[in-house]
Symmetry: C2
Subunit: 428 residues, 2 copies
């Protein structure tokens, strides 16, 4: 059952407390991760084989599967599943293809032309969690924009199963993405391998993907230790549902539970304009949860969650913006009147028939999104995440006449004489 608060009765401090996510000040994780990073940096492939034996209980002969092995695994899955993965691939591809456009040249002064050109990040690393949970959808969410961006080298790491292979669904996604190799490395050691490179695994420029707290800590550590960058900091997944009297309590409960089954530390927040509605949702939660295979996890996550009752949708949106949810679902007939009030959110689901799980898999939007309040300053993964925009400028003689003295004056007032000279010498 969701603990319930009334928005108007909350003090600023209480709101601050509610919007604060679980932060993990676990230093033992950091020191374990540091050890793994050092070990991989120094011993490379040998370290990876040893970690696979230790953590994945498998003795690997080689650290990757090649094209033929991937194809064999991919063919082992059912046609219905293949078809579903193809549809997800197509929708994600269609939406992400629209994200990059050629930009126009701007002539800021006569003869001074400026523009941006897009270039792919050459080498990217995608981490796909594996082991117990299998996440082919994550491979599509990262692989599709990487392909659209035109990255030259796409390195995929995922932990091996106990038979030394990978899941057939993941294999089928590799085929759809035309990626011909997957590295059998999981955990913090995979992040370290892609950051430093080993004999088998290429060093990359940027690392993407979700993972457990070891993976997450390894990503933030290599970000500060090396010049390899990362997609974004990650925390437990979360949803905030805004619902008014037009909402269906069964739909709302189903959406909260879809979030809750991710993990005990997931958070499912309900913001309702009416306290009776919260009671109805609680009844639905109780009814629906008992049918779930992951009900223990979901129950703990629901304990860790809460409901807030507001006077109206506007107030609900105020709270939501402060919370800055990864996923925001607007279960109200009036959603069109409030989308302009959304300032902080990762991805937004509009109306009664748009569950978050549609976006998790197949609507076309990306499911790699900012958690833990990072939606205040981060966007989710998109094709933008896989490219750089390089600025260009070209000045001709006319342009130099127009801009020259301005640059000279500004360089002079900043006390940078050589900056001034670089213009003056060309104006002679």
């Amino acid at each position: 059952m969701l603990k319930t608060y009334t928005y108007e009765n909350l003090s600023t401090e209480e709101i601050e407390k509610l919007i604060l996510r679980n932060s993990d000040p676990n230093h033992s994780i950091q020191s374990t991760v540091n050890d793994i990073i050092d070990e991989v940096r120094i011993n490379g492939d040998t370290a990876l084989v040893n970690y696979a034996a230790k953590f994945d209980q498998v003795q690997l002969q080689k650290l990757y599967l090649d094209k033929a092995e991937i194809e064999e695994l991919a063919m082992s899955i059912g046609r219905e599943q293949q078809r579903a993965l193809e549809i997800a691939f197509q929708n994600i591809h269609k939406f992400h293809s629209s994200q990059l456009k050629r930009e126009r040249v701007v002539e800021t002064m006569p003869g001074v032309k400026c523009w941006r050109e897009v270039r792919p990040i050459e080498k990217v690393g995608l981490y796909i969690p594996g082991g117990s949970a299998v996440l082919p959808s994550t491979l599509l969410m990262l692989g599709v924009p990487a392909r659209i961006a035109g990255c030259k080298e796409i390195v995929v790491c995922s932990p091996p199963q106990k038979n030394g292979k990978i899941n057939g669904f993941v294999a089928y996604c590799l085929i759809l993405l035309k990626i011909e190799r997957i590295y059998l490395v999981g955990g913090a050691q995979a992040i370290a391998a892609m950051a430093f490179g080993t004999s088998s695994i290429p060093k990359v420029d940027k690392i993407f993907g979700p993972g457990n707290q070891f993976v997450t800590k390894a990503k933030s550590t290599i970000q500060s230790l090396t010049n390899v960058s990362i997609d974004m900091p990650a925390g437990p997944s979360e949803v905030l549902v805004i619902a008014d009297e037009t909402a269906n309590p069964a739909f709302v409960a189903a959406d909260l539970l879809a979030q809750a089954e991710h993990g005990e530390d997931s958070q499912a927040v309900l913001v309702a304009t009416n306290s009776d509605f919260v009671i109805q949702v609680n009844a639905e939660l109780e009814a629906q949860i008992s049918a779930l295979p992951r009900q223990d996890i979901a129950a703990k996550a629901i304990d860790n969650s809460y409901a807030v009752v507001t006077n109206d949708l506007r107030q609900a949106m105020q709270f939501s913006n402060r919370y800055a949810p990864e996923h925001l679902i607007l279960e109200t007939d009036a959603w069109q009147t409030i989308t302009s009030l959304i300032f902080n959110a990762g991805s937004v689901f509009l109306g009664h028939l748009t569950p978050e799980s549609a976006g998790d898999y197949a609507s076309g939007t990306n499911h790699t999104l900012p958690t833990s309040g990072y939606a205040r300053s981060y966007s989710g993964v998109s094709v933008d995440s896989f490219v750089k925009k390089i600025t260009f400028q070209s000045i001709n003689e006319e342009g130099l006449q127009h801009i020259g003295s301005t640059v000279e004056i500004l360089a002079e007032l900043e006390g940078l004489q050589a900056h001034k000279n670089a213009v003056s010498i060309r104006m002679k």
Copy 2:
């Protein structure tokens, strides 16, 4: 004089060594910065006043200047300088205004609509270095895109001068940007203040701006310590000039010196298609450097730099892409034939009449750019840096019929039953 290497004679290891930047493994800086961050987090404004006394030798009565004080300082500068700052402002504004466009709605399946909407980051912090060097241009480079993005709160911190005020040029830029307050805080303490907030200084969501190694270390520290994000990691400034026989050695030398005067750790790399040209540039360096007020700094930076001789422009571009320079200048008549070969660079200056200093001040492009090889994965600051792109999706009954079973199948194969239910319950 530039040390000179011949590209074809270099081993892979030697190239790796050449492209490696000064990395600063100075742990005493980290511990000093940690102390400052703790002190500001705990003691707030009091700590800031004490640091101003200690580092800036000024006893502050209040931690900011307000509108009237800013206006008075701004009016103290010459009309010619005001005009130059206005032109820079206009050009930067004109170019950056072109960077954000409304994106179209994509219907990935009938009844399934997806799109992105842009929202400003609400609270941004701009750090403007001060003290001995005065950098009004940096205020324009950060303030203009923040204004175009529509950020609600723009917090500006800059160290106070010994009289407890700021430089008139910076004040004039504040007026142009319609920013009515500036906080008199410098160094790591400014970064900590904006990350945690104090009684005087608002907490922000993202911090921008260059600074000395304490500022830089403070930015990377708060990035891993809090959920405040930063523009990019920063290192010493650098330029790479590609020149062929059509280049003017005097122009090239002037560009190398403009970079070298920034600091002893700046790097100015020349990649020439001809070894005689390097000799001519060395002669020009010697001739030009003696006239510079900052010649001691520039001389040390030149000692820290080098030239590489290649067979042709294509090979020159190979080296440049591996180096991934912050600034790349193409001093060749044939620049149009090689821009498509550029993969890694922050900002590019095309042809003989486009010095880097034009971009530093006034061409319109941004001068906050990725250094130290970060151009492999980062773009320079733009309006994009001050916004988030939020994804939206809206599914109607027709859409649910089209997408429903795909989501059900994918949720099932990932073992997430509640994800499946959230769709199934809506399809009944």
